[in-house]
């Protein structure tokens, strides 16, 4: 590891350490906001691991997130919680493998629609199973896990995602994905097994989303298909990632923080117009900052230079 990388690594570790202190200062509103931030940071960053380099826009986040949540919801009275998180990870990985193998030959808008439909399909199946075989429409997740613990779990997961992302970006797999995003025909012609590379990243991304859902289930206490598999989660993750920028590992975080804060305000002030405002913000972001906030931040020094130089 070079000196610059070691410096970056220490800085990131310090930032994580500082952020992890949050529960010692507040266990009310700010911690709750911190959990939301950590959750979306995990989801948006892991989404970007796959969708960033390949440009395949996946709307399946909710499918994996909800699956993880339901694994915990369904097994909370039967198995210890850590085992459930592990099962959620495995279930997410298996689901991602199946979906990946069937969808990686389709691209563009067909892939987007398929992933959106997948979340909806699973939601309908879960609803049907619940209404047919049980009396309730949801599941209670009653544990003694505190919000502070959930926050720390999510921060640990986020650290893992960053570590995995850093390792992928410096590996042959990461390079393969960048080539695929540039030109899939060329990728195949220089010996890249494009389907395998895409499926592998889709599995990583889906597994993380599934674990994230499992970690959040105790916080929601009551899980229902409509909220666990809500397409809103998928859309928000895409918007945050695009707002932040998908060309850098730290890009999505630049979108998660402002968007989550903005969302707090919007949801409180305009509870009936949230979908409308979500759509409008999506259009504005794609139109005005196509490279995201990370792109702006990176270009800012260059623009300054050219102004001073020219």
């Amino acid at each position: 590891m070079s000196a610059i990388n070691r410096g970056k690594f220490i800085l990131v570790a310090l930032a994580f350490g500082t952020a992890a202190l949050l529960p010692f200062f507040d266990t009310g509103y700010w911690l709750s906001l911190g959990v939301s931030l950590a959750m979306y940071a995990v989801l948006a960053t892991s989404w970007t691991l796959f969708s960033g380099p390949t440009h395949y826009i996946s709307l399946a986040t909710a499918a994996f997130f909800g699956t993880g949540m339901y694994v915990v919801g369904g097994g909370v009275d039967l198995l210890p919680y850590p085992a459930l998180v592990l099962i959620a990870a495995l279930t997410g990985a298996v689901l991602a493998t199946l979906v990946g193998l069937t969808t990686m030959r389709i691209s563009g808008v067909y892939f987007v629609i398929f992933t959106l439909g997948l979340a909806e399909l699973i939601r309908q199946v879960v609803t049907w199973v619940q209404t047919t075989f049980t009396s309730s429409s949801g599941l209670y997740v009653l544990t003694d896990i505190t919000e502070s613990m959930i926050y720390w779990e999510l921060m640990s997961l986020l650290a893992l995602v960053y570590l995995a992302g850093w390792m992928i970006n410096h590996s042959r797999l990461g390079l393969a994905l960048r080539v695929i995003g540039n030109d899939e025909t060329v990728a195949a012609h220089i010996g890249i097994n494009t389907a395998k590379a895409k499926v592998m990243l889709f599995i990583i991304s889906g597994t993380v989303a599934s674990v994230c859902g499992a970690l959040l289930a105790p916080r929601w206490v009551y899980v229902e298909p409509t909220i666990a598999f809500s397409p809103m989660i998928s859309f928000q993750v895409v918007i945050m990632a695009l707002l932040g920028g998908v060309h850098r590992l730290w890009g999505p975080l630049c979108g998660v923080i402002p968007f989550t804060l903005l969302w707090e305000v919007i949801a409180a002030q305009f509870p009936n117009q949230t979908t409308l405002l979500l759509g409008a913000s999506f259009l504005l972001i794609v139109y005005f900052i196509p490279n995201g906030i990370a792109g702006l931040l990176e270009n800012f020094p260059k623009q300054l230079q050219s102004k001073n130089g020219g």
Binding site: L175, A188, H189, G191
Partner: protein
Amino acid sequence: MVLNVDGMTKSFGGIRAVDALSFELVPGEILGLIGPNGSGKTTVINVLSGALKANAGRIQLLNRDIGQLSTHEIARCGLARTFQIVRILPAMTVLENVAVGGVFGHGRYWGAALDRRAKDLLQRLGVRHGADTPATALTYIDQKRVELARALISDPKVLLLDEWLAGLNPVELGIGISLIRDLRAEGRAIIIVEHVMDAIRSLCDRCVVMNGGQKIAEGTPGTVLADRAVISAYLGDEYGDA
């Protein structure tokens, strides 16, 4: 024999783009695949590289059947190509564009060895721009050179050049021709699809002439270019009969 094509047939709907084509290629040989526009040359290249699957026939690369392999598997067997319309990776630098060719394919390199190979090839092909320049900033000719470097870095045994010499000025053409000769001297087998007749005459050991998907002539450039069927395919019957 490095490549053996036997009865290759490829149809698009009712159109037979390639019709029972057979030819062979030995190491250190340059084979010209020529014929009028629409005669099926690029389709042959696409079938060989695995971009398209043949409907019938047998293709052997280094005594291995590759007809049913996918594109990346064929690349790993030692076949590399350039594209008729140059395909550069737009979001990558010049050096990256070359280096990626040597990571996943036939010859595999990484780290410093990969960088060194990529830089050597850029120098050899005469790309003078900084390796960190975005590839999109290059001229068309330099992009073609980068594309060839990307194919060469994996040390392919068979190289397919689809109109790689098209659009070069006379000086560049001379350099391009001597470069392809050097590649042959290294023992590579090369198939060139070309319309530049000077290049075909001075480079090719043998030519396969196609028309309407079929092979209408095969032999040295001098022989086939004087062939009556070839002349009428290019210029119309009145010239061929004369």
